[in-house]
Symmetry: C2
Subunit: 313 residues, 2 copies
């Protein structure tokens, strides 16, 4: 039986609940605050924000919106005037400790229906997209390998070609061209998953569910391993610098942010990805031989965490 | 006698010197540090940064670059393959005190020469551009009026139509669409000043010189009036929030920043405009009746500071 869009939205809403519960258990202090919002043209969302003991500022958003597609968007997507339905979960977590990585996940479903067509089946377009990427303030190879292994395991259950392709896609996407550095150690990124990629809606949905479910246990493992490590002023300053690069990526390069703001999305939900605080130094240079310099050396595309990096050990 | 491009660059270089001297005298402690850089394709610049008692982080940059126009730029500007020459001064100053406004100025000259043409006179295109705008953390009407009056006086010496037109241009340019607020109290913005606007190169240059020279005394007046005002934690936090809006404008909307980064400009010189530090709160709300709320109400287009606002008093 074919999956209905309502089932997809319901599953995403449940994913938001499960992830929020898992993060609250891990954080041990923070509780999510919820804002429910309605979209004028149809649908709405639940924005949830946490300020906890481990997570300094984190957002876990769910939305399911629908209506007539604004002309500026349909033109961008190369579509005729149509109705649309979009649902998904978006997460960015900024931890208190510089020893704990920032993490981001987005999973989403998009569907359009051509208003002028008489044949409903023919006129519908749909796809899934998403991604997870990890942004350590200090790159710890073991954690990056663990993270990539979990993503590869999840991908491999569905198609062994997914991980290599989606890992490369993440390297290219989460990249600060003006700094010639990656945002972090990457992860996976994918878009337009549908029949053209040999996936019916049910199997594409199953893959996206797999990815959604891998998020909380994987991040919690990395947090618990690192959250009690000691740090001082120097590490906090470096965290503030790395956070400023996160800001630069999201405002200069992230297509999701641009698309959301250009098309009148809810600004506060879109910019919940901003860190609580960031610092910019003119022409900052790391100390030769320092941990900070070591991290910068690892912020590059095409590092193969699962064979090359692991086998060095 | 027609002005040569070298004379324009020399004057801009001198302007950088004069402004740096005036700011150092005012700051009473900070000294500019200089980085001299060369551009691979031709030319270079002098980036100067100050960390002082009054100015927490400020940049005053001069550059004069030339060479073959990269194809991606000439296409953006709608020009055939050509040689270019560009020179200018760019300034952003972030003060320590939240009671002192952030200020920005840019004055620039651009010239292209069509390589394929035999007639040099015909094939040359040139224009001046620029702008000054003031971004108070707390809007003080008297200071905004003073600032706009100085800009109007400078404009009026050249053409009484300039101030109203360039003031509106600044309102439209320094605008955060996603926040529905202006960056600050505006100022003036202008571009493509040349014969098409009824200005020969000499008179356009004289106007730009007038604007360049109005910067230091005007800003120093506003700084000296406000720099010793008392403030506390609440004002520092509000400053950090306003600084985050400055970041959002520069990375999301500023065409100069985008153009610079897209075309391989020197990243550290372009992003010297970033504040030393910024904070983001999810869905921040000002207290009803507070000074912060009062400021937000003034961050809108089409406030006529010189008649409407003044006459309220």
């Amino acid at each position: 039986m074919d999956i209905k869009k309502e089932q997809i939205a319901t599953w995403f809403r449940g994913l938001q609940d499960r992830i929020c519960n898992a993060l609250e258990s891990m954080d041990d202090q923070g509780k999510f605050q919820e804002d429910i919002w309605q979209r004028e043209g149809g649908g709405g969302g639940r924005s949830r924000v946490i300020h906890g003991k481990v997570i300094e500022k984190g957002g876990v958003n769910f939305s399911a919106v629908h209506g007539k597609m604004p002309v500026n968007i349909s033109e961008k997507l190369g579509l005729s005037p149509c109705d649309f339905f979009a649902t998904g979960v978006s997460i960015v977590l900024h931890p208190v400790s510089p020893m704990v990585p920032i993490i981001h996940m987005n999973v989403r479903y998009f569907q359009t229906t051509d208003q002028s067509s008489n044949n409903k089946q023919q006129a519908q377009t749909w796809w899934f997209g998403g991604g997870i990427d990890l942004t350590p303030h200090y790159v710890v190879e073991e954690d990056a390998c663990y993270f990539h292994q979990k993503l590869k395991d999840a991908c491999d259950k569905h198609n062994p070609a997914f991980y290599p392709e989606f890992k490369k896609w993440a390297d290219d996407y989460f990249y600060l061209k003006h700094r010639n550095e990656t945002r972090g150690v990457g992860g996976i990124f994918f878009d337009h998953l549908n029949e053209k990629r040999g996936l019916d809606r049910e199997s594409a949905f199953k893959f996206v569910q797999e990815i959604g479910d891998v998020f909380a246990p994987t991040y919690n493992h990395i947090v618990l391993k690192n959250k009690d490590l000691a740090y001082g002023e120097q590490e906090k300053e470096w965290q503030a610098i790395r956070r400023s690069r996160y800001v630069e990526f999201n405002l200069l390069w992230d297509r999701g942010t641009k698309f959301g703001l250009d098309t009148g999305g809810r600004t506060e939900s879109i910019l919940m990805s901003m860190p609580p605080q960031a610092q910019w130094f003119y022409n900052h240079r790391t100390e030769p031989g320092s941990q900070e310099e070591q991290t910068l050396k690892m912020l590059r595309k095409e590092l193969d965490w699962l064979t090359e990096v692991k086998s060095k050990k």
